[in-house]
Symmetry: C2
Subunit: 322 residues, 2 copies
């Protein structure tokens, strides 16, 4: 077994070496190459490779599926950016702002089919379960995105609604990547399912961490400006936790949401979060999901040594830096 960062470096190279048709179809494929070269930590494909390796597949067998999963992830980002009208992603212009919306829609569609093609390169013996996992995971991602969109205008969103939404939108894809890796590695149905649970719980912990960083993080390491969620009244884990407290501070928070976006609003809401100890609630939720992920991991037939990089990954993704 290697460390997560080894798989991450490997898939980065594989992605860099992909080639695409040129003229007259550059208008379709250039935006795809552009979207994929943006980098990031390559969490999903690296986890897929690491899981396949843990269950005994050689790297090559899992490589195409890893490309497929990363292609899928970037397809969702491309379309999400159109829907959110986001002009920047990882400090670069998004596809629809560099080209145009129609290009982002059509090249995104193409990425979804390319993703399916890459995933379908697995051997015949696992084609059906891998494909079913991939498609099922994709449906959960769309459902999560729909719920997220509906939350923007919905008056009453509970913490439970939110947890369902991020399970679908974030958890399913990370869980799916781990399960596909396990299936390619020849894992039993039970082990594959447990790896899905590991990935899904890791995804939830990671998302809550991300919500926390949006308020309390360092903008240099976080990669986007701090306070974006506060200014957008985004129904994040922090906001919903605080609102459900039902205390006078929660009422004050509800009032603060009516403020116009700006530094003052960010300061006031952050101060309320601090008074309400929301960080502590985040910490304990992250710990709970990490525990859940570890429990699933320990339930598998993997040796303690083989489980080690999965535990390290969990630490890495939830090790909050302030």
């Amino acid at each position: 077994m290697n460390r997560f960062s080894d798989y991450s470096m490997h898939i980065e190279k594989v992605l860099r070496d992909l080639t695409y048709p040129g003229a007259p179809l550059a208008g379709l494929y250039e935006p795809i190459a552009y979207a994929l070269e943006a980098g990031g930590k390559r969490l999903r494909p690296s986890l897929l490779l690491m899981t396949a390796d843990a269950f005994g597949a050689n790297a090559e067998a899992a490589e195409n599926a890893a490309v497929g999963v990363e292609m899928f992830h970037n397809f969702t980002l491309l379309h999400d950016d159109v829907m959110d009208k986001s002009d920047l992603r990882r400090s670069r212009p998004t596809v629809h702002s560099k080209w145009d919306e129609n290009t982002a829609i059509l090249s995104g569609d193409t990425m979804l089919t390319l993703a399916t093609q890459y995933v379908a390169k697995v051997s015949d013996s696992v084609l059906r379960p891998v494909l079913d996992t991939f498609n099922g995971m994709a449906i959960r991602v769309y459902e999560g995105q729909r719920l997220d969109m509906d939350f923007e205008t919905k008056e009453q969103v509970t913490l439970n609604d939110y947890l369902r939404m991020i399970s679908d939108k974030t958890g399913a894809l990370i869980g799916g990547a781990a399960k596909i890796g396990a299936l390619i590695g020849g894992a039993s149905q039970k082990d594959a399912e447990l790896m899905y649970q590991y990935g899904e719980a890791l995804g939830l912990a990671f998302q809550i961490q991300d919500d926390w960083l949006d308020v309390f993080g360092d903008s240099n390491t976080f990669g986007k400006p701090i306070g974006g969620d506060i200014n957008n009244n985004k129904k994040s884990f922090l906001l919903l936790t605080a609102l459900e407290a039902g205390t006078p501070d929660a009422e004050a928070l509800r009032e603060a949401m009516k403020l116009a976006p700006g530094d003052s609003k960010v300061k006031i809401v952050t101060r309320l979060y601090e008074r309400m100890n929301v960080s502590e609630t985040c910490r304990s939720a992250i710990a709970q999901y990490s525990k859940q992920a570890l429990k699933a991991l320990k339930g598998t037939s993997l040796s303690e040594e083989t489980r080690e990089p999965f535990r390290a990954l969990l630490d890495k993704l939830t090790g909050r830096k302030k």
Copy 2:
């Protein structure tokens, strides 16, 4: 063997009986049900069912794949309508005008994965070739759409460019439907390929016919206003044929393209098409592709009797009514 209209009625009923998740996900699935209930002649799924039947599959085995192909077709219409900013389709508001653009994008994405799921319900023995055909066909459709988009702003588009574009955008999907049906019916690789060729040539004949109807059809039976292509200077089979003639009339046509949209422009261009005998060129191109389709059909191992409804379909789709 039944007639095309029997398969068409059958798939219509199957599509009507599909069910979707309700609240809280109605916002994702209602637009999908709406898009699919719009009707039309159901060319692609009916052809798939007819081909599967011709090669000996029972109807049920092919039903899901037929749903998948129709779901895919309607997904492309949903996204095309967003890209073209079309407000009406088959006399009803399009999804993005009834709901909004983001809904059309996300529900469209969902339809593509649902389509793949339906197609993947085929038996294990044909899963890989069916899936490969489906994905390969999808890629050709996107490539065709990209070329079509590029043609709008491209100065020089040749008739050959145009034929490649409609082969991809229209031919591939109809060819793919026929091939998938053949594979499900247990056809040989050679027969499956010939059915693809049959469908692709039929698609080309059908598209040229459609271009012709846009100028010379009857708006009641055609389903949209006559002259739309002329007013948009759409690079149709008729326009490109006429421009390539290099005669004084072709020059006059180039001038007429600069006219503002309106009845007068439609009249002038139609008159030029008549003088240049463009209808005759359409007729002979349609005859050529029909012949090609029939040749492929005759090359298969199907009996003359089994081939009959495929020949009848060709007649039906290219039997021009003025």
